[in-house]
Symmetry: C2
Subunit: 162 residues, 2 copies
């Protein structure tokens, strides 16, 4: 949490979370090499691979694969939302409002928008996070509403295993 | 499309698509090295990195990052859904029903569930795909409803640029 480092160092349990809690990540700078390497492996389309061809496409220039931005978002979330037991996502809705370009510096702001203790599994609950991946101009490159698991302190889950 | 290779080789335009069309991908085998390499870069949590520690977590063994499965799904989609202009996803809802394990052989089946010509942009429309990433037992590892762009033949978009 932005203002409570004592919680983040020890691992966050379900009872530590309140709707409205906000987490801010560090930064990740995207460069041409990362974009092309990810694209070669997972999304081999010219607007992610070749600057010259990309200029003639809808993207009007080289743009990162949306799934690369999702993966970078996960990296920044793992560092900034230290849930006890880890950041275990069960599902999420992802929107890509604009392309991410070489040189963009991304950071993630995530906000707890709902907390739902499980009725069937008394050791855990679902935390719903509104996730926003922003560039250096604070323009939104990825938005997501993501459901993740959180555990009660008495669940036996280790406080900070990652 | 499963039964119409003449369309897939030339690039698919909006007028070639019909609700119910199905695309089947090739296969991708997931191994320990891929899981650990992706995790080190994007999702450094022990259940994606360390077999011994993973056994003691909720995953009960090494499991791939969900974002890795999303990226592999994109790779298989780019190969199997040859939309003219490329596979440009604007947003999607992703669910991860079960962990993907080392040795799992994934393939993707995608079905057109809706086609919405744009009212404001006469050269294109939105295609909504139901995407299912299955393992060798035909168990679902990732499900998604994804919105992508498709162009009319008279848009000037190149037929098969990737």
């Amino acid at each position: 949490m932005l203002s409570d480092s004592s919680v983040t160092t020890g691992g966050i349990y379900l009872e530590d979370l309140t709707t409205g809690d906000t987490f801010a990540s560090g930064e990740h700078t995207v460069d041409v090499q990362q974009i092309r390497e990810f694209a070669r492996r997972f999304d081999p389309q010219p607007f992610h691979l070749d600057e010259d061809v990309a200029r003639q496409t809808l993207f009007a220039g080289l743009a990162a694969s949306g799934w690369q931005i999702a993966a970078i978002t996960q990296k920044l979330l793992v560092q900034s939302v230290p849930l006890a037991g880890g950041l275990i996502v069960t599902d999420g809705k992802v929107t890509l409002p604009r392309p991410t370009r070489p040189g963009d510096v991304l950071h993630v702001v995530s906000t707890v928008i709902d907390i739902r203790p499980s009725k069937s599994k008394p050791d855990r609950g679902i935390v719903i996070l509104q996730i926003n991946t922003l560039n250096q101009e604070d323009e939104s490159c990825l938005e997501s509403v993501t459901r993740g698991l959180a555990f009660w302190r008495n669940s036996g889950i280790e406080p900070a295993f990652n």
